[in-house]
């Protein structure tokens, strides 16, 4: 700690604190342009120069740490005069075109001139003009160089935080200009973080251009609905329509950052593809009806299936929906429709008949091992292992945070994924591994650790219950490739040396049929690391905003809310008492089994909530055929999905900004999504639709207002206990780990042997510009990424005689798709990637459950 005085106030602050920060904490604001907390200090704008007793020159407060006994003055006439001078110089060549500048009203240069400026300029020469027309660097970023004050925040955030290294600085001196390669940012992430950090109107949002003055906007803080990172953002509306999205300085998990989806994909709220009114199928066509008629029709068809015991009813909910919606949906299904056939994802591996499925392995992931803590803290670990994710594409803001943590702390990052990501370069090691191989990896790591610990003589004594015996020498079939050996040679010692370990698990892993084995091995690895005295934290990297909430609140066929097994009488009793009804005791079907049931003609009612399985279920032939055989297909959604086109009843739901609700992000943090406007057209809030269906069946679903539903959750779900709906604002509130029914595996889980592979292995997942099949309703995201593509290594491409941009056919045993080829020189040989989001591609027609990654051939089209 250091004791110093600033403007006569004595204060004690931690060593290394910057004077600027120490002063700010005292309420003494020191102006700056170039300083930002998460960027490397530059000290170039010279606005923050202050006096330090004993120093000849003024010193930059943004780059000078406090020292014991230091006397700082920020209130002298010299300091004031220097600020005036800097501002006068900055304004000398600034165009002063505030009346037509988007930034006017929230411009830091305006604000600082207002606060510290001289009020007149002595500059009487000609101003420097880069150009008279602004440059559209890409469809979302527009640039006016004349206004730039060279704070370099944009360049630093693009490099240090986003990692894109798309923006740079060209020329020098007065000609210095911030720009992309040859004045274009066509190939960048389009995340717009450069716009966000720009203090002036130099980098601007093209979609927001000339749309509003800041004071015209009604701004609401809410949470992003695109992925599980759970970024805080601020939606600015004008006249009931979206004007822009921005993020606030050091707010939320994301700080001031967002990705392209979060910043520019919110135009989806004004999408043309809304479902405007309830519809039912009559004579083969969907026709608009009243709510009353729609619900009446639905209930009439459902009643029989309920009365026969609910076994022929199933429900699929989207993990994009709020906790309240998801909770109430499973309550409706279980207590009113009397079925446990509930699922909340259509993309994962379905359980095979031979092995226990993914969902049986899940509960063990969500007890104490799950790090329900800020990602920022979790990333402080000595060693970080990322498995099964292209974080850059799946969870871009998480990628930024990992990059920041690794660059700052130089902690060891190891990445295991099927395809390369930008984070590879930040790591101490990476391994290209196809989905399905993760169990083998965890087993090999565990093996290595046990061996390492044995030589260190620490494990046998530290390990309780003779666990050491069991974990000793597992028969793992580690491929003896140099890449594996090199990876393990780096990762095992790093894990062994670390006192804290973080494992981040991506969704690639969940798509392969070996997912359950992988999770069981991960659990085992976690336990052994704990036995070795390490603090271990696991977090999932879900690419959907509420997969964690969906699972924790009973969006599973085998689990009631709070990881209580359906087939456990005591568990059921909790809810039977709370809901005042008996509950079905048999575990239901996951979505794969529901489809099998449909296919067999045994599904009377399938209720699809916000999901689009026709496109997303990884077996196109099955899902198309099965859904055509459902007695009554109900689709409740805000947007027109492909599945809605097949439905018998279509119910228009509120979209994300039209209903309140909470979301549990990957950190296990509950955050509020706010209602920004009432439901458009004839849409109703999701929870209200459930209520009206229950009442039409003569049942009471209990209170449906979000606040009340949340209160019920906090009463019945232990990890949510004590949280209050209104209590958490921007910061959110963390769920807490609780004991659940998960048991440690008594035996080693099996290590699946890698499948023989011929041809190319097709993997799919998110691309940076899209989020499943939802984001196609965003006109901006569609503009930025309209065309599907096939990514492969240039070596493979050349071997096939194909050139970049060639049109190719991807053919599997089940189907084929056509797209353009994209080369990526970091891509592994023998693998191709096709993003999952392009609806017209119907990628799932190539896929079949149990055959992921899918074997394909690549042919010239």
């Amino acid at each position: 700690m250091a004791i110093l005085t600033i403007d006569g106030n004595e204060l004690e602050v931690a060593d290394g604190t910057l004077i600027l920060v120490a002063a700010q904490d005292q309420g003494i604001s020191i102006p700056t342009f170039c300083y930002q907390e998460r960027l490397t200090p530059l000290a170039s704008c010279r606005m923050c120069l202050i006096e330090i007793e004993g120093q000849k020159k003024l010193q930059p407060a943004c780059a000078t740490p406090v020292a014991d006994g230091m006397t700082v003055r920020t209130d002298t006439s010299l300091v004031a005069q220097t600020r005036e001078s800097m501002l006068e110089m900055l304004l000398a060549n600034h165009p002063l075109d505030c009346p037509i500048c988007d930034k006017a009203g929230e411009c830091e240069l305006q604000d600082q001139v207002f606060a510290y400026g001289a009020g007149e300029s002595r500059f009487r020469d000609e101003k420097r003009v880069f150009r008279t027309e602004d440059v559209l660097l890409n469809p979302v970023i527009v640039f006016n160089a004349n206004r730039c004050i060279q704070c370099q925040r944009c360049v630093r955030i693009c490099d240090e935080v986003v990692g894109a290294v798309a923006l740079g600085t060209i020329e020098k001196g007065m000609d210095t200009e911030v720009t992309g390669f040859e004045n274009s940012l066509a190939g960048c992430d389009h995340c717009g973080n450069c716009i966000e950090v720009c203090p002036v109107g130099a980098l601007m949002s093209a979609p927001y251009r000339y749309k509003a003055r800041p004071w015209d906007l009604t701004e609401t803080d809410t949470v992003c609905h695109y992925c599980g990172t759970g970024c805080q953002l601020t939606v600015g509306m004008r006249d009931g329509h979206l004007a822009r999205v921005r993020s606030k300085y050091e707010t939320g998990v994301n700080g001031e950052t967002l990705c392209v989806k979060g910043r520019f994909g919110f135009d989806i709220i004004d999408s043309k593809h809304r479902i405007r009114q309830p519809m039912v199928r009559r004579n083969g066509n969907l026709v608009a009806v009243s709510w009353e008629d729609a619900v009446g029709y639905l209930v009439e068809r459902v009643r029989g299936a309920v009365e026969e015991g609910g076994a022929r009813i199933g429900g699929l909910a989207s993990p994009r929906l709020s906790n309240e919606t998801l909770y109430l949906f499973q309550k409706l299904m279980r207590s009113v429709f009397r079925t446990n056939s509930i699922d909340s994802s259509s993309r994962w591996a379905s359980s095979g008949p031979a092995a226990p499925g993914l969902y049986e392995a899940l509960p063990a992931m969500f007890d104490g091992l799950y790090a329900r803590r800020p990602l920022q803290d979790v990333l402080e670990a000595d060693c970080i292992l990322v498995v099964g994710s292209n974080v850059t594409d799946d969870n871009p803001v998480t990628d930024y945070l990992v990059r920041g943590a690794v660059r700052k702390r130089r902690n060891k990052l190891f990445i295991v994924s099927a395809r390369p990501s930008r984070l590879d370069a930040e790591g101490a090691g990476f391994l290209r591994l196809l989905p399905g191989g993760e169990a083998g990896l965890f087993a090999a790591l565990l093996d290595g650790l046990v061996e390492d610990a044995a030589t260190e003589k620490s494990l046998p004594t530290a390990c309780p219950d003779g666990d050491a015996q069991e974990t000793d020498r597992t028969e793992t079939a580690v491929p003896a490739t140099p890449a594996w050996q090199e990876f393990l040679a780096g990762a095992i010692p790093a894990l062994a040396a670390a006192r804290t370990v973080t494992v981040l698990i991506g969704t690639d892993l969940l798509r392969a049929q070996e997912a359950a084995a992988a999770l069981r091995w991960l659990r085992k690895l976690g336990r052994v690391l704990e036995t070795l005295g390490k603090r271990v934290g696991v977090q999932f990297l879900f690419d959907r905003p509420n997969q964690m909430g969906a699972w924790e609140l009973g969006g599973l066929p085998n689990m009631l809310p709070g990881w209580r097994p359906v087939d456990d009488g005591q568990s059921r009793a909790v809810f039977e008492q709370a809901w005042g009804t008996s509950l079905p005791s048999e575990p239901g079907a996951d979505f794969g089994r529901m489809l099998a049931q449909c296919e067999a003609g045994e599904m009377e009612v399938l209720y699809v909530l916000g999901s689009d399985p026709i496109l997303s279920y990884p077996d196109g032939a099955l899902v198309e055929s099965a859904l055509s055989k459902v007695g009554l297909l109900v689709v409740q959604d805000a947007y027109l999905s492909e599945t809605a086109g097949l439905a018998d009843v279509v119910l228009p739901a509120a979209n994300f900004v039209e209903e309140p609700g909470t979301f549990t992000n990957n950190e296990g943090k509950v955050q509020r999504g706010r209602e920004i406007r009432p439901p458009a057209f004839e849409a109703m809030r999701n929870v209200e639709i459930f209520g009206s269906i229950a009442s039409a069946l003569g049942r009471d679903l209990g209170p449906t207002a979000a606040e009340q539903v949340f209160a019920e959750i906090t009463r019945l779900v232990p990890s949510y206990r004590g949280l209050g709906f209104e209590a958490f604002d921007g910061a959110g509130a963390f769920t807490v780990p609780t004991e659940n029914a998960a048991q440690d595996d008594p035996d080693d889980p099996p290590v699946p042997t890698p499948r023989e592979s011929r041809g190319f292995a097709l993997v799919t997942g998110d691309c940076m510009f899209h989020s499943g099949y939802l984001s196609r309703h965003s006109a901006i995201l569609e503009t930025l990424s309209a065309e599907p593509y096939v990514e492969m290594s240039p070596r493979d491409g050349r071997q096939l005689g194909l050139s970049e941009q060639a049109s190719v056919i991807v053919r599997s045993r089940h189907g084929e798709a056509r797209a353009r080829l994209r080369f990526n020189k970091r891509f592994p040989d023998g693998v191709v990637f096709v993003p999952e989001n392009f609806a017209d591609l119907r990628l799932n027609r190539l896929l079949k459950q149990g055959e992921y990654p899918c074997q394909v051939e690549i042919l010239k089209a």
Binding site: L42, S44, R46, A63, M89, D125, M174, D175
Partner: protein, 421 residues
Amino acid sequence: MFDKVLLKNAEIPNAHGIGAYEAAGGYRALATVLHEYSPDELIQLVKDSNLRGRGGAGFPTGVKWGFVPKDPALEKYLCCNADESEPGTFKDRVIMEKDPHQMIEGMVIGAYAIGAQKAYIYIRGEYVLSIERTEAALKEAYRKGYLGERILGTDFNLEMFVHCGAGAYICGEETALLESVEGRRAQPKLKPPFPVVEGLYGCPTVINNVETLACLPHIVQRGAEWFRGIGPERSPGPKLYCLSGHVRKPGLYELPMGISLRELVEDHGGGPRSGGRIKAVIPGGVSAPMIPESGLDVAMDFDSLAAIDTMLGSAGVIVLDETACVVRVAKRITEFFNHESCGKCTPCREGLDWAVKILRRLEDGRGKHEDLDQLERLCGSIFGNSFCALGDGAAWALSAALKHFRDEFVRHIEDGRCPFH
């Protein structure tokens, strides 16, 4: 007559070849160092010599070396600053063209002192002959075992490379130079951390000027006391003075540190060119504030020049006779700094451009009296507030012109034209 030290080989034909250098006793100092000195003893020797950096700042070389962490596990670098770009300066160029091995031997000695195993010579790109000769000399030195692995049979290894600048004056600033070697835009970096602790690639790095390094073999061979005995004790040694401008005998002169400026200009340089009168002298490259004729008796060493508000800098001495227009000179100097400003900090980037605009008007006779006040204000805002010495130097140099020759500026305003052109 002063016996030349640094330029003693320069007149020998083909002195740039290793044969001539060895014949004149070259690389014997290196052998002495590697066989007889520990790095610490070597650092002490250089400290005892009072050798101060010839790049301009005059920091004691041995002290700088002493700051390098001793941890053998840390990789360390030595960089030779051969980005000689200070207008009026051409001394390092002569060393590299005529006697590159002198610099290379000095570098190997320096690298041994600090434990560096890799060294870069940053040569300004326009110096094509220097680059060519240095590259050739490096090849020779490798061949002879003065570079590479197990130098002269010892455990000491050193790799040395040339890195060519590409026309940016700012690279002479040591942190900018390192940024440039790292492949970035050459913009000065925050200090601390100082390069001796965290320099090239984040490793401890010493940056020494060509002339500084060239002194080392001589200090090793002739001793610290000998070196300290040349010129003022606190800033001693042989010194290369670059004489140019309105002087009869321009050229590079090797003389003791601390000779009087008048002696240099009038005796060695033969006085002003046309037999006229000297108006002013810039003593250390254009960053050094000009001295009016009346100040010519000053001693040419770091401390004496600092005492009269100017500096030895690069010892680029430019003579202005009475035909020179100070406004034009001041404008051109400011234009130079404005052109070479890297653009990083506000005062240097914006302030110099503003000053140039005013100075151009003044030179053309379109200036106003309040412009002079504004120039002074600008100098005040830039000086001391710039990120690095470039802005400070520019403002300092301009202030001196305004201070000593304000009447000339006023005449431009009042006459509405330049009285000299």
